[in-house]
Subunit: 351 residues, 2 copies
């Protein structure tokens, strides 16, 4: 029993546990200042299609946690002290990437943090959607019934068929942030405008041959860059494109060896993180070479143009879109301009 | 099989699934730009003490999600495209209240959002600790081994013996935020100073008989208030104390009926949320009665003194304390001053 192999059948599964927990917490919220008697264990077992032992175990934990109080011979009652929000209010789901992130880094967390603030700031409740357990189970459980709408952050951050299936199974409005998904409104950073703006600034400085480091061909930043060059009548040299992959370091290293200092290196998306060690080894002169990269992966001892994002503006726009669709409004995409600012190594201000 | 009662034994439990998932994601991170071959299913099954079928199922999902790529006849390899942070870096756990929040409201989310930003802003990874499933399981699994330190937000927000046991079982530094726990450093809002500051301001306006609405007797805000009165040599009338509970509305309602407009109502903690409907019914004149309450539950059409918190300062202080203890520094508590500002109904600025 206590051996190496954990017993699977002894405790209710997370899906079952969460359904019962949610039911109880919804009851506590709805009851407000009055203690209300909970349905009997038998009724709940029937309702949730689980054994009475499972209900018993879940309710014991909820009692231990203070959501319920036991009155001897009468039953379990909601504890008004735990009704931290009065009455019924909308629950907005937020799904971060694939809903299975073990760890969060800077970018996705900022997106989630701002979105949660925008949601809870409107007196709605936030449900941080987890798809950690297998999807078939989730689809039948609480998430589908409890949310009034969902914001899906960065579907391409960790692409997942399960997350896609989940979002499509929902019967409520869904707004994606950062990456488009067919059939949903999308609020995203205007990365084409970012590339265009970078291009215009580079051309203004006479830097006509930037090295572009990107995850893949066809990224919108590159399209914007090319548009700026086209408008200025300057040919764009796409032989200076360096793509992520096995040969990336060698290719970029060779360029850095050949060119004394390149005119500019535009690290699209999060690519600065990947090339920073290489730039250090080659002692890149940030005075002569214009370095451009994302704020979330910028290294403070580099100088250059930091491409930043207004996470709060993105989150506010996502909420506005979602609330509008919850009121029956039409689907519509929305672009938020990116911010490009100069950073000098040694600046004391945090970025 | 697809009936009302879900089959529990068919899928790996969340604890098992997470352990395997974490192992794979750690491998992807550690491998960096190189695809590295994963241990065999048999080895992993032995390592994690689960069946080969369980490992197989978990790895299939990780392959579907793109963390692993299958090479026919050779095995599974880490996918370098998924190594979004290079090499090894510290994981900081953040436990929000009891780790079992189904929904987040404004206050706890702001605390979590700021803490996560402070953690990920230092190039560390954030692990959002979930204690949704039963604790015995968690104690044997990933959380204990993966974190370099943990920040526990609002232990009193949803008191839980399980969360207490979990924090105490950890072998790494733990810093609590907002509420003290024996044996851990605590970073909190200086609520005694808040009460003192409120008291001084009320006395400066000649308001010597404030109604104080509180969750319970002995709250530090009340102690601070009394200190301000004591220092000024003004007797403090604690018969105007209204405590949360069954008779609260009647008691406060009677006071509002008797006094034409009270000099002041100080809603300690989140109590403004509880009494706002009553204040509305009694058409409280916020011009004559000084209303004091928390920003997180303030209603924009009220006027008064809003008690606010600098969540970012709190989060930064918690990180600093934790990192200091991770480097072997001593335990120490830390108080962050609260901000009190005037709010006039109709102010356009968001609060």
């Amino acid at each position: 029993m206590t051996g190496k192999r954990p017993s699977i059948t002894k405790t209710p599964s997370v899906a079952e546990y969460q359904r019962i927990r949610k039911y109880v917490i919804d009851s506590v919220l709805a009851a407000g200042n009055m203690p209300v008697r909970l349905a009997s264990m038998r009724e709940l077992a029937g309702e949730f299609g689980v054994s009475i032992a499972t209900v018993q175990r879940a309710l014991k934990e909820l009692t231990d946690d203070g959501y319920l109080t036991a009155r001897k011979g009468v039953g379990l009652f909601t504890n008004p002290d735990r009704a931290w929000l009065r009455g019924k209010c909308d629950v907005i789901g937020v799904l971060a990437a694939d809903g299975r992130q073990i760890y969060f880094e800077n970018f996705l967390w900022n997106l989630l943090a701002s979105t949660g603030r925008a949601v809870t700031g409107t007196r709605r409740l936030l449900y941080n959607v987890s798809l950690m357990y297998t999807t078939e189970r989730v689809l039948g459980s609480m998430e589908l019934s409890s949310m009034a709408g969902m914001i899906w952050l960065g579907p391409d951050f960790a692409p997942s068929a399960a997350a896609d299936g989940f979002a499509r199974a929902l019967k409520v409005p869904v707004v994606t942030v950062n990456d488009r998904r067919e059939g949903f409104s999308c609020v995203s950073m205007d990365v084409e405008q970012e590339g265009y703006e970078v291009g215009r600034r580079l051309l203004a400085e006479g830097r006509t041959s930037p090295i572009v480091v990107a995850k893949r061909r066809g990224m919108l930043q590159i399209a914007g860059l090319e548009r700026a060059f086209r408008e200025a009548g300057v040919p764009f040299n796409d032989r200076l494109l360096v793509l992520r992959g096995a040969g990336m370091e060698e290719r970029l290293g060779t360029m850095l060896d050949l060119l004394d200092a390149p005119q500019a290196i535009y690290a699209v998306g999060g690519m600065l993180r990947d090339i920073a060690p290489l730039l250090r080894r080659h002692k890149l002169d940030c005075g002569r070479c214009r370095l451009i990269g994302e704020a979330s992966v910028w290294e403070p001892d580099f100088s250059g143009w930091v491409v930043d994002q207004d996470f709060d503006a993105l989150a506010a726009a996502a909420c506005n879109r979602l609330f509008s669709e919850m009121r029956g409004g039409p689907r519509r995409d929305c672009l938020i301009p990116r911010i490009i600012r100069e950073w000098k190594a040694g600046d004391s201000e945090r970025f």
